[in-house]
């Protein structure tokens, strides 16, 4: 004997569908009567099948599908209660008398399963939201870092430009006035640019003016020696000018070998010496 007589079943389906679809401002009314009917039928179907087996098994799939369908339309906990309460009321009224206990039990479990699934999904949505916020935070941090990096890069570029001007005073001769501390970092920048410039201008001589370097120590001297070797590989030579008496003494005391780099006292002397290698000379116009 079926749980519902055919006419009672039709009445159950249509009344539940209509009530759900009419529930004002709810996920049910938003998705409309057709969607509501699908889920009402699935629930009634499950109730009938479970009443045969005596287990609330078919109910699970139906409850989960219902929650999954309506959740994106802001399904609420009160909607779940409404769905199960309505189903219970009408099923008790229209179903077989001897199945009342089974219907009650089934509805109880239906609400438990749909609520659990509802909680799981909502928890999931909250986690996703939190993850999204984390990502947004990382992205904004990254954006800030990028801006900072850009600023740093621009600053470095500025330092590069400002700290190592390379002036081609005469064709074939470059003058490089060094100002400030001469360290590994600046030596690296200078080497790169100077070699570039020598290759580009086919310069034969690079005059390094170190009169603006406050402390010309072993490290700085060794960096210059290395720089001079690289320059030599391009077929040019380095002339060191502007050595202060103090720096000269230091270099002697430290026993630094300048590896045959020509040194001159002042820039003018350096220029004269460089011009000589070019078979040119410095003439006073005064």
């Amino acid at each position: 004997m079926p749980l519902f007589e055919p006419t009672a079943r039709t009445e159950l389906l249509s009344s539940l569908t209509a009530r759900l679809a009419k529930r004002r401002m709810s996920a049910f009314s938003l998705l409309g009567e057709d969607v509501c009917r699908v889920h009402v039928e699935a629930a009634v179907d499950a109730l009938e099948r479970d009443s045969v087996t005596g287990k609330a098994e078919a109910m699970r799939a139906a409850a989960v599908a219902m929650v999954t369908t309506f959740l994106p339309e802001s399904l609420g906990y009160s909607d779940l209660c409404f769905f199960t309460r309505l189903l219970r009321e009408r099923a008790l009224e229209l179903g077989r008398e001897d199945q009342r206990g089974a219907i009650e039990q089934w509805c109880y479990e239906h609400l438990a399963v749909s609520t659990t699934h509802f909680m799981v999904q909502r928890d999931d949505a909250l986690q996703r939201q939190a993850a999204k916020r984390d990502i947004e935070r990382y992205e904004s941090q990254l954006a800030e870092l990028r801006v900072a990096l850009d600023e740093k890069t621009q600053l470095l570029e500025l330092i590069r430009e400002a700290s190592t001007p390379i002036a081609p005073v005469v064709p074939g001769i470059l003058v490089v006035p060094l100002v400030g501390t001469f360290d590994r970092f600046r030596a690296g920048l200078l080497t790169e640019r100077l070699l570039d410039e020598i290759a580009k201008t086919r310069a034969r001589v690079a005059i390094l003016d170190i009169s603006g370097v406050p402390v010309f120590d072993t490290d700085a001297a060794q960096l210059i020696v290395r720089l001079a070797r690289s320059v030599r590989l391009l077929g040019a030579q380095v002339i060191l000018v502007g050595m202060s008496p103090h720096n000269a003494r230091t270099i002697v005391e430290l026993g630094v070998d300048l590896d045959g780099i020509v040194t001159c006292r002042a820039l003018q002397d350096g220029l004269r010496s460089a011009l000589a290698t070019q078979r040119l000379e410095l003439v006073s116009i005064a």
Binding site: M25, Y77, S78, C81, R85
Partner: protein, 175 residues
């Protein structure tokens, strides 16, 4: 901002002052906003222009956030004096329409109604003029909390006065 009875929409000074009292921990902000609105204190006996009062609510929500306004809604109901026959969450929720009618007057101020799906599920439909859900959610929570109940208040989808997506807000209160 005080008004004479007439054709205007008005909001009661008593409700407004209980709102302001509820915000006492943010006194400085409230004083500043009141002063900006041209008022230095709320007279509980007077009636105020409803637009002005709700503009003030909006400013306060922008300044202090949703959570603060919900909290004020709660404290407004928790501290309000109700007639002795109102002695349960069911009764106080059922009377929410009177609460609105007591606090606002004038043409088209809208209504708040309460229907029961069963004894622990109420549906509040609100068409109150310029209703602010944040405040209403707080008020509905506070109404239950007055009787030791922590309810779940859900705002139905599809229409909202504050979000300007429709002419009404539906709240479902469960516990």
């Amino acid at each position: 901002m005080m008004t004479e009875p007439g054709e205007m929409r008005e909001y009661s000074g008593a409700a407004l002052s209980s709102f302001v009292v509820g915000l006492s921990e943010h006194q400085a902000v409230v004083d500043k906003l009141l002063a900006e609105s041209g008022v230095d204190r709320i007279d509980p006996e007077a009636w105020y222009e409803l637009e002005w009062a709700f503009d003030l609510f909006d400013k306060i929500e922008r300044e202090l956030g949703r959570a603060a306004v919900i909290k004020v809604g709660r404290s407004m109901v928790e501290t309000a004096v109700y007639p002795p026959e109102i002695d349960s969450a069911q009764k106080i929720l059922s009377s929410v329409g009177y609460w609105w009618a007591l606090n606002a007057r004038g043409p088209d101020i809208g209504t708040m109604t309460c229907e029961w799906e069963d004894e622990h599920h109420a549906v509040i439909e609100c068409t109150a003029y310029r209703a602010r859900c944040t405040l209403v959610i707080g008020i509905l929570e506070g109404a239950c909390m007055r009787y030791g109940i922590s309810p779940l208040v859900e705002h139905g989808p599809g229409s909202c006065i504050q979000q300007q997506t429709g002419p009404m807000c539906v709240y479902r209160v469960s516990w």
